[in-house]
Structure formats: structure tokens, C-alpha cells
Amino acid sequence: MEQKPILEVKNLQISFQLNFGTNHVIRDISFHLNKGETLAIVGESGSGKSVTTKAILGLIDDNGCVEVGSCLFRYQKDNKDVEIDLLKCGKDYLQKNIRGNKIAIIFQDPMTSLDPTMKVGRQIMEGMLDHKKVSNRKAAVKRTLELLELVGIDLPEKRINQYPHQLSGGMRQRVVIAIALACEPDVLIADEPTTALDVTIQSQILELIKDIQKKTGVAIIFITHDLGVVANVADRVAVMYAGKIVETGLANEIYYSPKHPYTWGLLSSIPSMSGQNEEILSIPGTPPNLINPPKGDAFAYRSEYAMDIDFEEHPPMFQVSDTHFVASWLLHPDAPKVSMPTVLQARIESYKKRGDQQ
């Protein structure tokens, strides 16, 4: 695994210019994505996870601005290895070479992410034709039918000529996935692809994504607010809070030995899968306003484990293992020893058991 990561985000800072001031949405984050793996970025809404991925594709709104940071992307162009900084290469370059072509994205709400006035077939073909992935229209149609089949849509010949509103939510999301796969990208960003769907459809889509990864080997960044969703999908997980990554590690590390109180909170708030009457804990309070980011650890304001230092200084990344990093003063040697809530502990135990059974 000495291969360089396909995508490497370093010290990214993004802010949005609002009428009232500057909203510091992303405050110095770094992460990487290896070839063929699935990285889940998890956090509450407003934590900055969507903005990060949009920034990678240069899709942030006009009032947004990348202040510092780089995003190295390595890909093959004309059989040569290319390494570029996506944040500096300009929109034209992104449009021509990257978007859709190398990095594709799936949005959260399939209801709004398809052009309502265009037949789905055309929407799928659009990218291939524009990027000259297929030689002609006929080939495009053929490929589209294949894609539709790949994403599990029945009667592709019929669907290709239908409008989005004629399809169900799940089908639409499958179409969106088909669009994303149209140009055989290296990286697929799935921005909460299942949030807007029914629970049953959710798992189908998750299965589909997993399946596709198996078939195509595409690297996936999976963004979600729900740790439960990615449990079976993610190789690695990064937990974001208030524009920062607070904990990152392999999926097992995050699920079975989380270290950050926020991760605890997130794990506790996963609705029970066993259907038993387990206690579901929610995290009190709301994420902070980032126009005037709080001093120190932003989560401290909501944490029952807060310490004085949390309000003074932002914690550095403490390394737990080779792959597991946590930004919390609780891991400081001087900090009092606290452990995760017992409810969560019980839960994790049950997960482990189930995991073993599987």
C-alpha cells in the first residue's frame, strides 16, 4: 500500500462571504483518499462536509472562497501519471478533465438533482458525449442502456425515454448514479446519497454502491450525517465537526473504539438496528455559528466532558494508532480519564457480536 493516495486534501480552509460577515465553514482540514477505497466523511449538517467535496470539484457558490489549502489529485492522462492541485487548476481545466470525467458526484436529493425537463437518457448521455467517451450517439445509447442495467433499473429501453418525474425516488437516485458512472470516473463522491430515500430503498442503494465499487474499483468519498449508514460500506471514516475533522480512522476503529465525545454522540444517536428498545441519545445543543467560530474546541460547548482548556485552545490531532487520529484534549495525558457512555458501550458490544456472527 505504498501507492500514493489518489486524492489528498491538505490544510483546506474555506469561507463564505455573507452579508453579516465571513462564515468560516472549513477550518483547516486534511484527509486523503486511496485508490479503490471508500472514505466516509461523517458529521452533522453544517459541519462542512458537503462544502469540502463541492470545493474539490470547484462547485462552491460564487460567494465561497478557498483561502488556504490544496487538493492533490493523481490520475492518468494519455497514459501518463498526472498530479494536479484541483484548487488551483482553474474551472475550465476542471470542467474539461476532471468533472464527470475523473471525479463524479451524486447529490443528496434525487428529486432535485435531475433536470425535470430532460429525458433521463439524454441526461446520462450528456456527460459521455461532451467528454467524447463514446464516438457517436448510437454508442452513447448503448452505453446508457448498459449503465441503466448496471444500476439496476428494469426496462431500460423504456426508462431512457422517460422524464425524471415519472420515476420513483429510488430509481432517480439510480439514474443519478448512472450519470456519475457514465464516464468511468476514478473517484465517486456520494453526498448523502441515501438521506432522502426510504429506509428500504436506502439499503438497496447502499448495496448498489458497494456492488459498483466491487465491479469498477472506483474510489468513493461517502458523505453522511448518519454513521449507521456507512457502517457496512466505509473502509475509513472521518468525523467532522464545525469545519474540522475531529476523528479519523479505519471503520473498525471508529465503530468499535471511538475516542472523541462527538463520535460517541454520533454513534449513540444511530437508531437501533436490532429493533429493541435501546436508549437513543441525541447530542444536546446545535452546532456553533461559524461566522465567529468559538475559541478552542468547538464541540466543548455541547460536550459534557468539556474542560477549561477546551475553551482556550483547539486540540491537536492525537494519534491513537497508525490510522486512528483524534482531536480532543481528552486524549492529552493530563486529561482525566473518561470513557464512553455505558449505553454506547453496550451497543458497540452488540455490534461486535453481530459483526462476528456475520
Partner: protein, 334 residues
């Protein structure tokens, strides 16, 4: 980092720090926010200033000039604009079509800033008085039709069902007749004059307001806070007054700002076809329609009222646009 010491790692209660949370209050700050956004809109601000300027001139303008309002001086008829000082630059020097009637008539030290009309009346004071009247007509008409439109829209939208159906049929019928036709006929039936014009404008003006209010009400009445109030047993009146109305006030203000220029336009059009106010009372529309008849010969008679009228309407629209953007949450930055 050097400041870190052990004591800092004591656990504390979160309550102590709650105060540091940014508190965003809605309600009172809604208008403040809107105002802040509005201030960023250059067009709106310019428009607002223009309105304030014209309004001020409408109030004090007639007395700023050197001539008496509405005084007919037969020797001074058809004089073009002449302003001291500016005349040395070749503008506003009182000449028209290549000759200077001031000199021709021996009126060497007479100055009419906007010139005079064909009865020898000072146009400066008439234009500003006319502006005042146009303003007055528009404000009164709009105020009344806004009140009526809001009431109608609220009732129709809030109560819905059969009430709404009947009320909307009525609106449909009324809006099926071109406004201008109704206004002209009403003014005639009621005999031309200030009151009739206001009344006619009122009768036709409320429709669009009622529509906007209705659709907003329909939206808002399904919202949770209204449903909550309902389940708590609040009376319809209280709900409308306390819950619905405050939430559509932005839209109402915007609509009002759009209604004013249209009222001014209708009034001026009536004047243009000769069905205006009773002379010698003159609105901008009256001045334009009279000046138009001499446009070829003495363009100044039509120019000044047209410029004021157009500026006024433009400004109201700019302000209305600005307000709409300021109130419209869709346009909010993020």
C-alpha cells in the same frame, strides 16, 4: 501551547459557557436584517434617496422658486427654462428653437427655472405641486387598496373552502375587465376629480395585493406554528393578526411599493386622455398632457414633468426591487 497546564483539564459544566453561543433571534431583527441587506442594494438606495429628494421638493419646492404658484402672467407665457448662472454655460438660458423669448420680450432679469406654460404660469412651482398631488393620489389610493386587499386576501386565504372559492370567482371576474377601462368608466361615472380618481384606483388596485396576500396566507396557515396556535384554541382573528400577518408583512411592503408607481401611472394616463383633476389643480400627468400639446414648439413644458414622473416611478421600482431582494429569503447568501 505553553500555557497549557494541568488545571485546565478539569471538567466543567457546559452551562457556564452557554452565553458564548451566538444567539440569532428572529422577529425584531427581521427588519434590521432586511434593512442591512437593502442598504447593500445600490439601486434601492439611490431610489430611496431620489424619492426622499422628490418628496422633499414636493413639500418645499413650490416655495423655493421666485414665482407665485398658479399665477397667470399673460406677458410671461411660453417662456423656456432659464436659470441664473447656468445660463452662462449655454444651458437653461431661456432660448428655444434658436431664439430667446426673454430677450425678445425684454424680460432681461426674469428667471423661470423650469419656464412657464401657455398661460404664463411658473412651471417650477406647478411641477412640484403636481408631484405633491400625484404623490397624494397614489398614497391615498394605495393605502386604501392595500388595507382592502390585505383584508380580502387574508379572509380568502385563511378561511379557504367555499369562502375562498366565491371570493376568488369575484376576483377573477373583476380582473377580467381591463383595469384601465374600469378606471376610465368609474372616473366618468363619479365625475372627474380627485376623489373619483382615488376611488377608481382603489376599486381596481386591490386585486393584485389580495392575490399575493392570499397565496402567502395559504402557505403560512399550514405551517406548524400556526397549527400549534390553532390547537391551543386561539381565535381566527388572533391567529391572523399575530401569526399570519407578521409573516407576510415583507411581501406586503414590497407589493405596496410596486402599487404606488402603478397608481401614479394610472392617474397620469387619465390626465393624458383629458379625464383628470379639475383645473387649475394639476398633477404631473396633467402637466405632461398639456405640455405634450406643445412638444414641438416648447419642449420644456413636457420635459420637466416627464423627467420628474419617470424618476419617481423608476425610484419606486428600484426601492421595491431592493426591498423584495431584502425580504426574500431565497436571495439570502447561503
Amino acid at each position: 501551547m505553553e500555557k497549557i497546564n494541568k488545571e485546565m483539564f478539569t471538567r466543567i459544566s457546559t452551562q457556564d459557557h452557554q452565553v458564548q453561543e451566538m444567539v440569532f433571534d428572529t422577529g425584531a431583527t427581521f427588519f434590521k436584517d432586511a434593512w442591512k441587506r437593502f442598504r447593500k442594494n445600490k439601486g434601492g438606495v439611490i431610489g430611496l434617496f431620489a424619492i426622499i429628494f422628490i418628496l422633499t421638493m414636493a413639500i418645499i419646492g413650490p416655495w423655493l422658486g421666485t414665482h407665485v404658484y398658479n399665477e397667470l402672467i399673460a406677458e410671461h407665457i411660453d417662456l423656456p427654462a432659464r436659470v441664473p448662472f447656468l445660463e452662462y454655460f449655454g444651458i437653461f438660458d431661456g432660448s428655444v428653437n434658436g431664439f430667446n423669448p426673454y430677450i425678445k420680450k425684454g424680460l432681461t432679469d426674469v428667471y423661470y427655472w423650469f419656464g412657464t406654460d401657455n398661460l404664463g404660469r411658473d412651471l417650477w412651482s406647478r411641477v412640484w405641486m403636481g408631484t405633491r398631488i400625484s404623490f397624494f393620489v397614489a398614497f391615498v389610493a394605495v393605502t386604501i387598496d392595500v388595507v382592502f386587499g390585505i383584508t380580502y386576501g387574508l379572509i380568502s386565504g385563511y378561511f379557504g373552502g367555499k369562502v375562498d372559492l366565491v371570493m376568488q370567482r369575484i376576483v377573477e371576474v373583476i380582473s377580467g375587465i381591463p383595469n384601465l377601462v374600469v378606471v376610465i368608466l368609474l372616473v366618468l361615472v363619479l365625475k372627474p376629480g380627485l376623489t373619483s380618481i382615488i376611488l377608481a384606483l382603489m376599486i381596481t388596485g386591490w386585486i393584485s395585493m389580495s392575490r399575493v396576500v392570499r397565496s402567502q396566507t395559504l402557505k403560512i396557515k399550514e405551517m406548524e406554528f400556526v397549527l400549534a396556535a390553532k390547537s391551543l384554541g386561539a381565535s381566527s382573528f388572533v391567529i391572523i393578526a399575530k401569526e399570519v400577518l407578521p409573516n407576510i408583512i415583507g411581501q406586503i411592503i414590497v407589493m405596496t411599493m410596486f402599487s404606488i408607481p402603478s397608481a401614479i401611472f394610472y392617474e397620469s394616463f387619465l390626465a393624458f386622455i383629458g379625464l383628470g383633476l379639475q383645473p387649475p389643480v394639476a398633477s404631473l400627468g396633467v402637466l405632461i398632457s398639456r405640455g405634450y400639446l406643445a412638444m414641438l414648439t416648447y419642449p420644456h413644458m413636457v420635459t420637466f414633468p416627464v423627467v420628474v414622473l419617470s424618476t419617481l416611478m423608476l425610484s419606486f421600482n428600484l426601492v421595491a426591487d431592493g426591498l423584495r431582494d431584502a425580504f426574500d429569503p431565497k436571495m439570502k447568501g447561503f
